[in-house]
């Protein structure tokens, strides 16, 4: 397994290389000029040209790509064109809120979805099943921002229980941290809860129809034991896969949530950078995301062997 893991990790290098080339080329050909954004509306064309030259944006494609790649090889993601701060520092500032939001969302989503999916499968066709699937359809259908505004209206404006916006680091205390995380995690978590609950139900229904489950029931095992020890473990592979895909999707989902709740995370950093054409940030964040996707996929693949002894690497 160690060999497999190392092989997969090594395979990330060419993947990220291709991503780097693709992102750089895409930004190069896309319309937009950071020098014009920097200079402001009153600036003259000559001002913009001077800024472009000063930033090296007037250099040919290969010169710019080569410079960036060389710096990257030295572990330097570059400097933001606008703030003049290192991209690594900007990402460092933003990674904690996004990681916290992702983790809390996963806790909300998985914590609710798996039990609900199992329950729905166990009571397939009954009212519990219909309610759970109804909630799932709702979670899928209602956009995150609608749920978010609804939660803000109820819990922040009407009841005044929780803050509307912002983020407090866990280093400043768990209580303020969790107060700021509750609403965003629920808003974002509902979508993923819906997704995971549906897959859990489908997977469990498949397993519950297997002979060994019938045998376990015939042996007189308690229904809860049959569901959790026998069925759920065997239904886990597709559930873990969908959780893995969910983590990847979450990276995209946090953009809206971070915007609505004004959380200074990676999602907003990316959107802001795209709007103002801050190329070093876009390139740095895209590389980070591609690395994350690869690692999450690897972890999902490795976790299969925990649930299914037939899978070996």
């Amino acid at each position: 397994m160690l060999r497999y893991t190392l092989k997969r990790l090594l395979a990330t290098i060419p993947v990220m290389g291709v991503v780097a080339l693709f992102v750089f080329s895409l930004l190069y050909i896309s319309p937009g000029d950071p020098a014009a954004v920097i200079a402001g509306d009153i600036a003259t064309e000559a001002d913009i040209a001077r800024i472009r030259a000063q930033l090296g944006l007037d250099q040919p494609y290969f010169t710019r790509f080569g410079t960036w790649l060389l710096a990257l090889a030295h572990g330097d993601l570059g400097t933001s064109i606008f703030t003049n701060l290192p991209v690594s520092r900007l990402i460092g500032q933003r990674i904690e809120p996004t990681a916290a939001l992702t983790l809390c969302t996963l806790i909300v989503a998985v914590g609710l979805a798996v039990p609900l999916g199992v329950l729905a499968a166990a009571r397939a066709g009954g009212w519990i099943d219909r309610v759970v699937m109804g909630i799932s359809v709702l979670g899928f259908s209602v956009p995150v921002f609608v749920i978010a505004y609804g939660l803000i209206l109820l819990f922040s404006i009407q009841l005044d229980w929780l803050p509307v916006q912002g983020y407090t680091s866990i280093s400043e205390g768990f209580v303020p941290f969790i107060r700021h995380m509750i609403l965003p995690s629920i808003a974002l978590g509902l979508v993923y809860m819906a997704l995971i609950a549906r897959i859990t139900r489908a997977s469990m229904l498949d397993v519950l129809a297997q002979d060994y489950v019938r045998t376990a029931n015939a042996k007189g095992l308690a229904p809860r034991a049959v569901l959790t020890r026998h069925a759920l473990k065997n239904a886990a592979v597709p559930i873990v896969t969908i959780i893995g895909i969910g983590v990847a999707l979450l990276i995209g989902g946090v953009v809206v949530t971070e915007t609505v709740f004004a959380i200074p995370g990676i999602g907003r950093l990316t959107v802001d950078a795209i709007l103002r054409r801050d190329y070093p940030i876009i390139q740095g964040v895209t590389l980070l995301f591609s690395a994350l996707y690869v690692i999450v996929n690897l972890l999902v693949d490795l976790s299969y062997s925990l649930f299914d002894p037939r899978i070996r690497y």
Binding site: G40, D41, I42, T44, S156, I157, L162, V164, P176
Partner: protein
């Protein structure tokens, strides 16, 4: 399975207890920080260098951390700020300035003549007015640490106007070592001598900027008036909290999480006005001016007749409503100089304020020889003020039979495309909209689109030697009466050649919690003098 009534009550009680405890914990944190003013700024602070960029948010940051030699007051008079006294020689060629006592930078070092000279010289390389002053300057000399002199090549009556310029680029005074940075390279050190100090290690671009009171600042004794007078910081800490989503910003000020939201979108004004703890106010006496800019290099708007046809159609009231929503927040202003300022006038303005005449416009279109060439009207959908104007213009151009195509993009794309001098078939453009804050177009020295210098003009590149001659005459005019007369001539000329069309004057209201007082009425939002109870 289900919860009993008692169980549900217990659960609700426990939840309420947790929530109260959570609330108490965060409340104590706020008390420990002293008086904190939480402010939602108009935009995200991206650059710390108010000379490198003309972005208004960076200008506002500049006013927090830097001070200026002179400033404009509410009566459009230039008042000394860091300067204690100044003298002008009899031949009007030498200005001698003496700094006030006790001026210090945030690092504790005194403000010296060398700092002022280096700062003005750097500003003079970037700002349009500064460049004019630099052109007129023979030498800047430090007489001693507190006194410095400006020697001119020939009399220039606008020295103080230039040094007291209220909007971008403002000649802020920086430490000499910072001000020696190339004018096209961004500075990173926010050390100034202004009423607030930036806490740079707490700056999270895209989210938060933190300032604390500069306890060493020595304010002037006069009451504050625009950027002039005493700058007394009355809160211990100011946090700029950038909230890009307007619904969230509205919820945050409604819930009392922030104290002040600088610029309200029109649709949320009635929502906030209902809250008795919030004051929706207009603190900007000049507002902003929308403009319709033509591309003078390419057909069809390289044709004066066609520009005049559009001028005959523009109804400023339509634009005012489209931009501001509420008629009381927008109005017509048929002048090329901001209405409400000394040079605003009505010379030639019938062309814009008279009866709108579709027949006349159609006749002008015919006279122009327009043959249905495609017109690219650029708009930015992420800029509501730009987009609202573009939609009005699209409809208006269609009414007079022009073949208009709306090219919608984001602002970043628009400002790149507008630098293209090519025809529309090669990625060029025909018309776009933007707007300027009132102080930016109050005079020929500042009004960038009111130039006729061809390639050297602002985007759109009109060529009009007579307009340039008049501009030079304005710089040479020695008395306010002469200056006004030349400004009127310039305006008359502009209504003939139509370098651009002013579309409307509008204000963007602000909202603050009623526990704030001392908000300064000014075209720039200043945070000194603001008290929080």
């Amino acid at each position: 399975m289900g919860f009993s009534l008692a169980g549900r009550r217990l659960f609700a009680g426990a939840a309420a207890g947790v929530v109260l405890a959570l609330g108490a914990a965060t409340g104590n944190l706020a008390l420990a920080q002293g008086k904190v003013l939480k402010f939602i700024p108009e935009a995200d602070l991206r650059s710390l260098d108010p000379i490198w960029t003309t972005a208004y948010i960076t200008r506002n940051h500049g006013y927090m951390v830097y001070d200026v030699l002179f400033a404009t007051d509410a009566n459009f008079k230039i008042q000394p700020q860091m300067v204690d006294k100044w003298e002008v020689s009899k031949d009007n060629l030498t200005y001698t300035f003496t700094l006030r006592d006790g001026l210090k930078f945030h690092d504790g070092t005194p403000v010296r003549s060398a700092d002022c000279i280096a700062s003005i010289e750097r500003w003079g390389k970037r700002d349009v007015f500064g460049q004019k002053l630099a052109e007129m300057t023979d030498t800047w000399t430090a007489v001693n640490d507190k006194t410095f002199a400006l020697k001119l090549k020939k009399p220039f009556p606008y020295v103080l106007d230039a040094l007291g310029k209220p909007s971008s680029n403002v000649p802020f005074i920086m430490p000499e070592k910072v001000a020696r940075t190339d004018a096209f390279t961004q500075i990173t050190d926010p050390t100034g001598s202004g009423p607030f100090k930036m806490v740079k290690d707490q700056w999270v671009p895209g989210s938060k900027v933190v300032y604390v009171k500069n306890t060493d600042y020595v304010p002037r004794k006069e009451p504050p008036s625009w950027g002039a007078g005493g700058k007394i910081a009355k809160v211990d800490r100011v946090e700029w909290i950038y909230i890009p989503d307007s619904a969230t910003a509205a919820a945050a000020i409604n819930a009392g999480e922030v104290d002040w939201w600088q610029q309200l979108p029109p649709d949320l004004i009635p929502v906030l006005a209902k809250n008795k703890d919030i004051k929706v106010d207009n603190t900007d006496p000049l507002g902003s001016i929308g403009i319709l800019r033509f591309n003078h290099l390419q057909p069809p708007f390289n044709n004066q007749k066609l520009r005049q046809a559009v001028l005959a159609m523009v109804d400023q009231n339509d634009y005012a409503i489209a931009i501001a929503g509420d008629p009381k927040n927008g109005k017509a202003c048929a002048s090329f100089f901001t209405c409400g300022t000394p040079l605003a006038n009505t010379a030639g303005s019938d062309a814009l304020s008279g009866k709108r005449d579709v027949e006349k416009a159609r006749a002008l279109v015919k006279e122009s020889g327009y043959k249905g060439e495609k017109i690219i009207l650029m708009t930015a959908t992420d800029q509501p003020i730009v987009h609202a104007q573009a939609l009005v213009t699209q409809e208006m151009l269609r009414k007079i039979g022009l073949n208009v195509e709306l090219a919608a993009s984001d602002w970043g794309t628009l400002i790149t495309r507008r630098s293209s001098k090519e025809g529309v078939d090669k990625g060029g453009w025909s018309v776009f909209h933007t707007w300027f804050v009132g102080p930016d177009i109050t005079s020929p020295a500042l009004n960038s689109p009111l130039r006729g210098a061809g390639d050297k003009s602002w985007f759109g590149w009109p060529t009009d030697p007579k307009l340039e001659e008049l501009r030079d005459a304005w710089f040479a005019a020695q008395t306010p009466a002469d200056q006004k007369k030349v400004a009127e001539e310039m305006q008359k000329r502009a209504f003939e050649t139509v370098p651009y069309i002013p579309t409307a004057q509008f204000i963007i209201p602000t909202a603050y919690r009623t526990n704030l007082s001392g908000v300064i009425i000014s075209p720039v939002t200043f945070l000194w003098n603001v008290e929080k109870k």
